[in-house]
């Protein structure tokens, strides 16, 4: 029987660019098992990789076989993917399974990736939102319910099973090479829609910095909920301009009009349920995380936007 010296780590969402960045950073110090519920991803001979649904019964076999010390849960269906029900099943119920197994098999550290979307975009948002602020998103859009429910679930497990050492990270817009989310698609496009007369302040974090933040979180087992965002801000339309995007204004009032247009066009890069995020700011305060984990983002907004400007037609 071999003795295990390195921590054994389960990382979900292996098909995503962020997971792969985290794996690259941690593979020297940890034995990593990667999973993805959409595809089997080859990550090298030394990293077992599986295509598995968290709700599948065989998922528990992984816990029996590998006896994980920690889990970094980055895999989730984005709001633009599949139906609301499928997303709920995968993101919320799947995470519940993962946390149940984590408890059953005595995992000592769990990191869950959430999103700043949980705060919801509305006119009455103050800037520099703290972690204690109410999560209004579920009341504003049914398509974001799974994001809030996932957080509620994580919070229940955080208090019920403190030995899991759960940390929930709420990053701002993650952007950079390989990122396929809504905002990254917009920044990399030639033309991007904007709501006429509205240019909300936004925050962007480079994928490399986000991966660094996750690694720091892994290294310091402080449980809790943390915003992750650089202390830097730019209006949406200014960001598009710097990225070399031509702005296409859409009628913005009354609010039903842009929503109807977005529904009609069914643009994946400008979904109707995220419309409010292009109208009102959701500026989060990432200083608590930065202080607690000693995190300083290394890539500036200029560097981020330069990448999008010079890669207008990514392969």
């Amino acid at each position: 029987m071999s003795t295990q010296s390195r921590p054994r780590l389960l990382i979900t969402g292996a098909g995503g660019a962020l997971s792969q960045q985290v794996i690259t950073r941690l593979k020297r110090s940890c034995d990593i098992v990667a999973i993805d519920f959409r595809q089997q991803v080859y990550l090298g001979d030394d990293i077992p990789s599986y295509c598995i649904d968290l709700n599948n019964r065989s998922f528990e076999d992984l816990f029996r076989r590998y006896r994980f010390d920690g889990i970094i849960h980055l895999g989730r269906l984005r709001t633009s993917e599949l139906t609301r029900m499928r997303r709920y099943n995968a993101n919320v119920l799947g995470t519940q399974k993962l946390l149940d197994f984590a408890h059953k098999y005595q995992v000592k550290r769990v990191i869950i990736l959430s999103t700043f979307h949980v705060y919801g975009a509305m006119a009455y948002n103050p800037a520099l939102i703290d972690e204690e602020a109410p999560l209004k998103s579920a009341g504003l859009s049914a398509d974001l319910i799974d994001s809030v429910e996932l957080e509620n679930l994580a919070n229940i497990y955080l208090w019920r099973y403190p030995e899991l050492n759960i940390t929930v990270l709420r990053p701002c817009n993650i952007v950079g090479p390989g990122v396929r989310n809504t905002i990254s698609s917009l920044l990399s496009s030639e033309r991007a829609p904007v709501l006429a007369g509205f240019s909300p302040m936004m925050q962007f974090i480079h994928i490399d910095d986000m991966a660094d933040a996750i690694v720091l979180t892994w290294q310091k087992p402080v449980k809790g909920v943390f915003n992750v965002a650089p202390h830097d801000w730019v209006p949406y339309q200014q960001a598009l301009k710097i990225c070399g995007c031509k702005r296409i204004p859409i009628i913005s009032i009354p609010p039903a009009v842009p929503k109807a247009i977005a529904r009609l066009l069914n643009l994946k890069s400008f979904p109707h349920y995220l419309m409010a995020f292009f109208k009102y700011p959701v500026i989060i305060d990432g200083r608590t995380f930065a202080k607690e984990f000693g995190f300083t983002p290394k890539r500036s907004l200029k560097e981020i936007f330069r990448y999008y400007r010079s890669n207008k037609r990514p392969v």
Binding site: A123, Y124, N125, P126, A127, L128, I129, D130, A133, L195, A196, G197, F198, S199, M201, H231, D232, W233, V234, P235, Q238, K241, I242, S252, I253, Y280, P281, I283, D285, S300, L301, K302
Partner: protein
């Protein structure tokens, strides 16, 4: 060249740019702060406000030097005149004072961020949604913040109610005590008569989702405006009951009332 840069190069005189450059703000790498404040837009706004302040309203600011030159400070003033001209003039008075100018931030009505262009433009100039979290974070940043505790009760009042202070919210006092922030009372005289309203069309206002629709002539009268800044008031941060808090708010209100009286006595006519 962006529109803002073009306008700045055409409109903003060099000495003014230099003066505003001396006022440091905690801004990010692209020139914005979390609320959207942008130095370039401020310079344009400041340049455009100058003739409004000096020529149109012939504003006289007295005691502006009493505003502390650094650290957090709350400028508490009476609100009037349908449009937030009073905030603009107080802001200009402080930013243009010769000794240690400051660019104050203004807390604006909750419906303004929902108005296209205007909401963003006000943010660019340094105004932000009137929310206690916003105000608290700004005070933490050592900002000077303009607050009108009467809110829309003050700005939307009719001509017949001019210079009658409406109910003051107490949020500013909570923040002043919590953040050990001095309060500088400001009495504004003149703005009340700039857009005299005789009625408020409440059903239409409700329909449009705005706080009021005044029945008034579509003109801003060039009345003479007087701004009287009072001595800074300090309140300790010990636990206070609601009654004590109300007393403190009343003390500020009384000072503002005195400053308004002073302004009314000083003026020789509306224009």
């Amino acid at each position: 060249m962006s529109l803002a840069s073009f306008l700045k190069s055409r409109l903003v005189p060099a000495e003014l740019e230099e003066q505003l450059n001396r006022i440091q703000k905690p801004i990010g790498s692209l020139g914005y702060d979390p609320w959207g404040f942008n130095t370039d837009t401020l310079k344009i706004g400041f340049t455009l406000t100058r003739p409004v302040y000096e020529k149109y309203f012939r504003t006289e600011a007295s005691g502006v030097e009493k505003v502390p030159s650094e650290g957090p400070v709350l400028l508490i003033a009476n609100h009037s005149g349908q449009l937030p001209l009073d905030g603009l003039l107080i802001g200009y008075a402080l930013a243009s004072r010769p000794e240690k100018p400051r660019v104050p931030r203004a807390m604006i009505e909750r419906f303004l961020p929902t108005v296209p262009w205007l909401g963003n433009w006000l943010n660019d100039l340094g105004a932000a949604l009137g929310d206690p979290v916003n105000c608290a974070k700004m005070l933490e940043n050592d900002e000077a913040v303009i607050v009108f505790p009467e809110g829309v009760r003050g700005s939307g009042k009719l001509y017949k109610d001019r210079y009658q202070l409406q109910r003051f919210g107490s949020g500013f006092m909570h923040l002043a005590m919590k953040y050990n922030t001095p309060i500088v009372p400001v009495g504004v005289v003149g703005c009340e008569e700039s857009i005299p309203a005789i009625a408020n069309i409440k059903p239409l206002a409700k329909l449009l989702g705005v706080p009021y629709i005044p029945v008034a002539l579509p003109v801003v009268f060039p009345v003479k405006v007087r701004l009287n800044f009072g001595e800074p008031m300090y309140f300790d941060n010990r636990e206070a009951s609601q009654e004590e808090l109300t007393e403190r708010v009343e003390a500020v209100k009384t000072e503002i009332r005195k400053l308004i009286e002073k302004g009314l006595q000083e003026r020789e006519g509306l224009f």
